[in-house]
Symmetry: none
Subunit: 426 residues, 2 copies
């Protein structure tokens, strides 16, 4: 195990997550996954993840062990204001360094934590006390600050709160830049994520199997609900040479996967659809039943969607389909709310109401009750109506899928139907 | 750190997950969470989780370290047929014990892995080779067997495949029983999660500070976006005695936190609101602007919401506020779309359109653009209208929060305003 002790020449990184809720299995360790992805994109080798509870001796022990193995330790959790938040205390104690109240920190915390109660005062004191010599990582969205500290030669600790949104903000602001400035990464590992929908992981891998065993760049598929991603990873001296490795492979992959490819990086089906509509100067409205606002929610998460997104009608109840979308009662009686006829009528109704260029309409059975032999749980009908084109489509997502999965798959399918029509008519 | 070394009298357990995909951040470590929950339900203390990649030296090192700290090590992953599956090899090497082909195992693998190809033969040989003295944990659904082995006094290793369904089957068949037979678990650990909103972690801890240092049950707070949770954890002989410890503390916590408490376990603000409305036989409609369907999405995720949820209008564009919700143009011109006057008018419009008992209306500035000095990013106006009551309210969520965070906080705030009004008028 000699290689583990000889850390001086390496830039090995470890992650330590602190929180008894992780040991009790109350939550998934999404922070470790997120940091792992970030480290990979920076080209930094990362060899171990550890989780311990809110116990000072175990935290100290874990830090000490990491200091013997690795060059950098990223810690999340245990930075809050309560007695069981022990991270900075444990770090100080491990390296026999007292904590000291940081004046700037306590000043900024006084503005965030209002009041003069004992608990406010003690929260401020606790959260602004950091090991002497440590540099602050500012937390703009929450109260718990992080630190960057090098207590001994060749070992630096970075701490972040356990709240994922705060961790991410602080990483993007300060953490990532620290790594970049230190230029640990001789050369880079660059990953590009390509997004696909309407195809399984197996079929996608089969279509590009002649590329799957390449060594630089490597190609790794992974599936999530309603989507498959390919990660194309190149090792290279710099960004330019990495791109020269990735670009031709990306082109080849897209030529073999055609319309199943919908974007890369941070693209989502919603952002892609909004960009296509914006380029055409066209607008979008929604008529949602079983998705209950899920498509609107996906669209409105995209900054700048107001250029094209007018709004929608959530017609969860059938009476609302009649009243607000003008679906004739006899269609509902004859075909049922989950039918081609009704989604088409919902789509036409919304187009008129909103005076929109495009409408996505959805009606289905999300379960866990309400299914029948003719119309099982997981049956969802879609209609997309445009300026002079329209399509209807139905999906059987499978009656063993959860309500939530059926709703999410319906949101993606509705957006994808519109995307394909926009591509077809461009 | 004396307590860590003195493991002889304890039944401390650790989890070691092996797989480079975890270090690359390709997947969430759901196995660690699942095993953690199982151990908690058996009342077994579990103090550390470790993740290392498919590297034999790092695996050996992790096993050796665990053997110094803990009584039992549960390992997942690295049991497959390929060259990078190294778990049993590493276990044998750590304790200087050779692997030997287990005849029964290779016989059963021959029935699962058909064919006489070199790769089939080598897969069978690899997967049936286990350290001398180890007992097999049979894998009925896949090929990779696990083992139970006590290489040194007071240290036992159990191995399971990384495929979650195989791990679960094998745990339920053999793993769990091994623990039960050994009777490590004198009693159980039971956790109950209580949910709070509209209060910070600091204020919540302050209100119940007289309870925060209890030893059985213990109380631990943790915060997420728009919510604080308390985990109340009791160690007891059985479920009945655990409840007897938890129940009075739960009651006391609720009496000190009043309306900030909204539910326990799997309750969400949406499910609580739906249950309250269902009991009253009343209906709900929505008028959403900046949340773009987010409230509808939260409501419709709850199975059975159709009893009370009629639907909503997503009036993202101001013209739609006029046209579908009947907001007078002069209100929009005079006060702007993000104002008390406009959300109130949206709320009234939706109440009429849907003929609903209750309406939540929301309009705000989610950013990252569109803010001004008078109306900064993060300003959100709410209106809740009921049968004979209504409230308006505004929040400044903070201009540094992300668009997504402002939208999510708005969804929770809107639901909570309705919840509080329903409680007030019950």
């Amino acid at each position: 195990m000699e290689d583990l002790k000889n850390k001086i020449n390496s830039t090995s990184v470890e992650i330590l997550c602190i929180g008894s809720e992780l040991l009790l299995g109350n939550i998934l360790n999404s922070n470790a996954k997120w940091i792992a992805e970030e480290l990979a994109s920076l080209g930094l080798p990362h060899y171990q993840q550890t989780v311990v509870g809110d116990n000072i001796n175990r935290i100290k022990y874990a830090i000490l062990q990491a200091s013997k193995r690795s060059r950098i330790l990223i810690i999340t959790g245990g930075l809050g204001p309560t007695y069981d938040d022990l991270t900075h205390e444990a770090i100080g104690a491990t390296f026999n360094t007292p904590l000291k109240e940081n004046k700037e920190l306590s000043k900024s915390l006084k503005q965030k934590i209002k009041g003069n109660s004992n608990s406010a005062i003690s929260s401020i004191r606790k959260q602004s006390s950091i090991p002497i010599g440590a540099k602050v990582i500012t937390n703009n969205t929450g109260t718990a600050p992080g630190i960057i500290w090098t207590p001994i030669v060749n070992f630096t600790i970075l701490t972040f709160p356990g709240v994922p949104s705060e961790l991410k903000d602080m990483w993007h602001q300060d953490g990532m830049n620290w790594f970049k400035k230190k230029s640990f990464n001789k050369g880079i590992i660059k990953s590009k994520i390509l997004h696909f929908t309407g195809i399984s992981e197996t079929s996608l891998s089969e279509r590009i199997k002649h590329l799957m065993h390449k060594e630089n760049p490597t190609i790794a598929p992974y599936a999530s609900l309603g989507e498959v991603k390919l990660r194309v990873t190149a090792k290279a001296e710099n960004n330019h040479t990495a791109n020269k490795l990735i670009d031709p492979i990306e082109k080849e992959i897209i030529s073999f996967t055609k319309d199943n490819y919908f974007g890369h990086g941070n693209d989502s089906l919603a952002s892609v659809v909004i960009n296509l509509l914006r380029k055409r100067g066209e607008t979008l409205a929604l008529a949602e039943s079983c998705t209950g606002g899920g498509i609107g929610n996906a669209i409105s998460q995209i900054s700048g969607c107001s250029d094209v997104f007018l709004g929608g009608i959530i017609s969860y109840n059938n009476f609302i389909k009649e009243r607000l979308l003008g679906v004739p009662k006899n269609l509902l009686l004859e075909y049922g709310a989950v039918s081609n006829e009704v989604v088409q009528s919902m789509s036409h109704g919304a187009k008129k109401r909103f005076n929109a260029d495009w409408v996505i309409a959805v009606s289905g059975i999300a379960g866990p009750t309400g299914g029948s032999i003719e119309k099982p749980i997981g049956l969802v009908h879609f209609s997309v109506t445009g300026p002079d084109i329209e399509v209807c489509s139905k999906e059987l997502f499978g009656k063993h899928k959860s309500r939530n999965a059926i709703q999410k798959l319906s949101v993606l399918k509705g957006l994808d139907l519109l995307r394909l029509l926009l591509l077809k008519t461009s």
